[in-house]
Symmetry: C2
């Protein structure tokens, strides 16, 4: 039992190999009657197209490489879902790799992707990725899209999100509730998503005529955030509101504050970032700036398809806007702060 090839199909249909090839590729050159004959033969023999052989002659391979720093994080999983969805619609298969935030592993994966002959790459660069990464891709003629994180100083397509609008709405909401002492809980990682959000915080505060009370860096896990709650609330300059770099920190802190008997929305206002599903499940609900990773994924895929089609098109930076979702964790500043401190 050997593999059925185009040649088998062709002889079974009484045409040449070349004609059969034209049929599988939906070429307009082939006549309707011939096409029907060949298609019947294909069905009858159970022919399976061999993309591997095709890729050798033709340039395209109908695959794209996707490198994600951490699949365990639902945020990236949804991003991946968006990428997969859009690429699949365009007929490209996704070859997946998980860099685990290791730039070295990431380099290895890029090599493997090249060996597989992918038509292009979508990468959310691992921490510590160097500019060289993007330059190499350009040198190799490999279409590349960065997503969610952008390597400064590089020139490549980018699909990300713009925290500005959501952040401004969040700060405005807090301001309207009377908050003036607002702290920022940052993550300890140092990629562009971090600095972008922090910068947008500073901008939004300035727009409301406020100075940040403090910026505190915390490792981005539920546990560390939870444990950091006492330290944050007991600092001399006690905040009345906190904005967190993401919902991992926001939810962790939510729980940490509750443990202390400090009720979010009443004793302190709390804002997260990403609006994960669970933000709506804690009590009170965690107000959060919604970002839409699925849409960002689709956007990244579209940029890649465009780049594959037109390698010399101008470099694009596209961002998805964010918006604030108010929930119970934000409320009016308490008139008698001393009562809380007692």
């Amino acid at each position: 039992m050997k593999r059925i090839t185009l040649l088998d199909v062709a002889s079974h249909a009484g045409v040449s190999r070349a004609t059969a090839s034209l049929v599988v590729r939906d070429s307009p050159l082939v006549g309707a009657a011939t096409r029907a004959k060949v298609e019947a033969a294909m069905a009858e023999l159970g022919y399976v197209y061999n993309l591997g052989a095709a890729r050798m002659r033709a340039a395209r391979s109908r695959t794209a490489g996707v490198i994600i720093p951490n699949l365990t994080n639902p945020f990236f999983a949804v991003l991946l879902a968006g990428i997969e969805s859009a690429l699949e619609t365009a007929g490209l298969a996704v070859i997946l790799a998980n860099s685990n935030e290791s730039a070295a592993k990431q380099d290895g994966f890029v090599n493997r992707m090249r060996e597989h002959g992918v038509d292009g790459l979508i990468v959310c660069p691992a921490e510590g990725t160097e500019q060289r990464f993007v330059d190499d891709a350009r040198r190799w003629g490999m279409p590349l899209v960065q997503t969610l994180r952008f390597l400064p100083g590089t020139s490549a397509d980018y699909a990300g999100m713009d925290p500005a609008a959501g952040m401004r709405e969040a700060v405005q909401c807090l301001f309207d509730f009377g908050h003036r002492r607002i702290g920022y809980i940052a993550a300890d990682t140092l990629h562009s998503a971090h600095t972008e959000r922090l910068a947008s915080f500073h901008d939004a505060m300035a727009a409301s005529g406020l100075d940040p009370l403090f910026v505190r860096q915390i490792e981005s896990t539920h546990h560390t955030a939870r444990m950091a709650a006492p330290e944050i609330m007991n600092r001399p300059a006690r905040p009345t509101a906190l904005i967190c770099h993401n919902d991992v920190l926001g939810l962790g802190l939510h729980r940490g504050l509750s443990d202390l008997g400090v009720m979010p929305g009443r004793d302190v206002s709390l804002v997260g970032f990403d609006n994960v599903a669970e933000a709506d499940l804690v009590r009170p609900g965690l107000a959060s700036v919604a970002t839409e990773p699925f849409k960002v994924g689709e956007m990244a895929a579209r940029l890649l398809l465009r780049r594959i089609e037109r390698p010399d098109a101008e470099v694009l930076h596209e961002t998805e806007p964010t918006y604030f979702v108010q929930r119970g964790s934000c409320g009016p500043v308490r008139s008698t702060v001393s009562a809380v401190e007692a």
Copy 2:
């Protein structure tokens, strides 16, 4: 600027194409001095191995297809992470597809995977997948591993989880707290994971000498579960404890009950399934039966590698045990139930 081939490497190193081929494949046939020469040439020319060409002659393609029903669900995302991790260690690249619970799409993906010449498939079958699915794979000689869900009546390797241990511990814990009126909240989907967990619930109850109070089906979303809380608590046979098919239902119900002023762990005990990270963040924490999707993913990958290596090996069903994680949402049954109803 054309592509560097093995022939270029060979002539640059002063050997034949065949020898160069042996070097890239780490064959022991080639001498040390020659190997060094060829490797130097490869580095100098920036040679990239062409897996597409190799796959045409050789059988293996160093890729595996993975089809998941829903990437947006963190549970599957972690499963995927486990699969990816183990396959990558073995040098196989993952071609990913998201069936979105559509059997038709799933069929399409299997075809695409065949066209790509994958060495094997790991599939968590979409709802409504027919037995034919597994039979086809066997007929095609395509190594196949089912994971998390098992098509009844089929014979193929399977990597899943065994809810029995965790379920028994959960029921035992509730029993020890004095609970006798225990209801089960099931999902509305009908695959094997559903029936397995439900069956393990019945077994565990029987082992404690109890009869299930009721089994209620709910669509598996946070929102529906939350909305169903009143109906569940107001039924004539009011439960003192609830076990949920997964944490999506568990967390949704946790919030729904809280909304009613029914406090989990005090007024009713609540157990989830999967032990997602967020189970520890709500207040009180949601007790949950821990399953380890990452390990299941690794297990599925191992099974596939074994099957690829030995196509005729006996069919294996492997399961990862589960265990109960107690948290605040489980507590002693209240002596005066009427007080709650007031």
